[in-house]
């Protein structure tokens, strides 16, 4: 079977875009884990809410992409803040299973409330760009995908800047690296945790809003993506942000390549197989538990 170079390139580009989206989700998860030592099972729902926010904001804003994106992100961050203040703030760091079950319950509630109100009918989201795209040779990429990728990259750049250069970011890294020491220095864990959750929600909101014009929006959309994000966080090393990004992009590419040549089932299985292999060889993940190293 001769492999069409153009086809491969198309797959690769798709894989990169997919990987960036995965990275947005995985980084948020890693962030929350690093700061609070809990795995947020409702993370996928934050993405879904971002997508729905985008779906509703667009018509209101005359299908203008950027204002709708901003609105969606802000709305998701607000929801993240509410979730933190109502529920997550009550969880202690040593209660791992309890926090899973709480966020699982939350996830169930959110999905089914959304389904109850909006039904499971998939929604098509239209933007000012429609289906227009850019052509490179015989490869076609829609603007929405390009913008999605660009926005993701911008978000990572911004995240890097925040973690490296702001007080707020440094506090998060301190807590992730050495909780006791950070507390002794006077860093307030509740404030840092809240910031981390809101930030992670923002990243999810961005991911959801970016996906909305590309895929169909349903209440279950977060669920399909989230379990891969979990696997990515494990593969990359719990709490390790660069690790999560590398793993995410890697997965996006691998899935895209496999999906292009083999059956869908293998594409989905690949993340699981990779995860098991990685755990077998390197139980702590491919990169060590980073405590949010930023480079």
């Amino acid at each position: 079977m001769t492999i069409d170079a153009v086809y491969l390139l198309q797959l690769t580009l798709n894989g990169l875009t997919l990987g960036l989206i995965y990275a947005l989700i995985a980084v948020g998860l890693s962030l929350i884990f690093g700061v609070m030592e809990i795995i947020n099972f409702a993370h996928g729902e934050l993405l879904m809410l971002g997508a729905f926010a985008m779906a509703f904001a667009l018509p209101v804003m005359g299908l203008l992409y950027w204002p709708a994106l901003a609105t969606a992100i802000l709305a998701t961050m607000l929801i993240g803040w509410v979730i933190y203040e109502l529920l997550l703030v009550r969880l202690r760091t040593d209660e791992f299973e309890r926090s899973i079950l709480v966020t699982l319950g939350l996830s169930i509630i959110i999905i089914h409330v959304m389904q109850y109100i909006f039904t499971a009918t998939p929604r098509l989201v239209d933007t000012q760009y429609g289906f227009a795209g850019v052509e490179i040779g015989s490869i076609r990429i829609t603007w929405t995908r390009v913008i999605g990728a660009v926005a993701s990259l911008a978000a990572f750049g911004g995240l890097y800047a925040v973690l490296r250069h702001t007080q707020f970011g440094r506090a998060m890294r301190a807590i992730a690296q050495n909780r006791e020491a950070a507390l002794m220095v006077g860093i307030r864990p509740k404030v840092v945790a809240r910031n981390a959750v809101v930030l992670a929600a923002g990243l999810c909101g961005l991911a959801g809003a970016a996906i909305a014009p590309i895929q169909l929006v349903t209440p279950y959309m977060g669920q399909f993506l989230i379990f891969k994000a979990f696997a990515l966080v494990i593969i990359g090393g719990l709490g390790n942000i660069p690790g999560a990004i590398v793993a995410a992009i890697g997965l996006g590419l691998i899935e895209s390549w496999i999906g292009g040549f083999f059956e869908i089932a293998w594409q989905e299985a690949s993340v699981f197989v990779i995860m098991i292999v990685v755990l077998f060889l390197r139980p702590d993940g491919l990169f060590k538990r980073g405590g949010m190293r930023v480079g």
């Binding site: 529920l87 319950g105 494990i234």
Partner: protein
């Protein structure tokens, strides 16, 4: 002796439950009885790995599904009997649990939870997409009733007795296991693993055995349930089942054998009562989960135990004065 009294009571209740089809002719009620029995077994298996060993495993859903499909395929594709289907359901799941458990249990608890969740989701995808094996979204309908020595268990009432015998056998086994030294070691591992190692016990074989046993039992339960439904399809792997098992364990009290059994019997009627809207039922499940985690994280049994301990503390304090 207190435990002898409890066992005697349990035996009495079991006999009464066995007589259910004689007490009512409503297939609806008997059907609920079948669900209650099977869900209780699955919950008890989850209790073994989560309540006793301290490992939150979402893989149970995967084992349940694999068990259901294995039994169905044994009968329909390979021409075996229902009974062999159950045996294969148990064995195959045990082997899978060992294969998945070995790399995962060497890491940490976080990884274990995530791997088991991913596993369950993967099984769901395979059920839907590997059409050659599982017949895809259409599933395998018209599963024949179990037969033994020429006798056909073709009514709900007759099937009830299979479910009853299965439940009694599985729960008896689990009870024996949980009250043995092995059960005690699992509890110790859950509470303080470094201490267990310092006392000469290697935790890994215990964790693996617990995982494999809970997989086998859950798989067998899935096998029985698929024949109760008379059809198996990807809906069998709906997360709803995992939630049901989880809520039974949490409300009853993770780590309490009888707490989970009683909870299983009581709550299995719940899905039926909440049948009015699938979404609403799930919302209630979610709310129960969240509220229970804050108000009664150790379930009813745990709450009762804590009160007993508080009373003990109080009386000891008074004795010292």
């Amino acid at each position: 002796m207190k435990s002898a009294a409890i066992l005697a009571a349990a035996l009495a209740v079991a006999l009464v439950l066995g007589a259910l089809p004689l007490l009512t002719t409503s297939n609806y009620i008997i059907g609920i009885g079948v669900s209650a029995l099977i869900f209780t077994v699955a919950a008890a298996a989850l209790n073994l790995i989560y309540g006793y060993t301290g490992l939150l495993s979402f893989a149970q859903l995967g084992f349940w599904g694999i068990g259901g499909y294995t039994s169905a395929l044994t009968v329909v594709t390979f021409g075996g009997s229902f009974w062999w289907g159950l045996v294969w359901a148990a064995l195959i799941n045990a082997v899978i649990a060992l294969a998945v458990g070995y790399p995962t249990l060497r890491t940490n608890r976080h990884a274990f939870v995530i791997v088991t969740l991913t596993f369950a989701l993967l099984v769901t995808l395979i059920a839907r997409d590997w059409v050659g094996l599982t017949r895809g979204p259409l599933g395998i309908p018209n599963l024949p009733p179990p037969r033994a020595f020429g006798y056909s268990f073709d009514t709900t009432a007759k099937f009830y007795w299979i479910a009853w015998a299965f439940a009694v056998a599985m729960l008896a086994f689990l009870h024996a296991l949980c009250s043995s030294r092995i059960g005690r070691t699992l509890i110790a591992i859950k509470q303080n693993e470094p201490l267990v190692r310092a006392q000469g016990i290697s935790p890994m074989p215990y964790k693996l055995a617990s995982f494999a046993l809970s997989a086998a039992i859950t798989g067998a339960a899935g096998g029985v349930y698929s024949f109760h439904l008379r059809i198996i399809d990807p809906l069998f792997l709906d997360f709803y089942y995992m939630q049901t098992f989880l809520i039974i364990v949490i409300i009853g009290g993770a780590g309490s054998f009888w707490g989970v059994v009683v909870s299983g019997a009581a709550l299995s009627a719940l899905p039926e009562a909440l049948r009015f809207s699938a979404d609403f039922r799930m919302i209630i499940y979610g709310v129960i989960l969240v509220v229970a985690m804050f108000v009664m994280p150790s379930g009813v049994a745990g709450w009762l135990r804590e009160r007993k301990v508080a009373r003990l503390r109080q009386s000891l304090r008074e004795a010292l004065r």
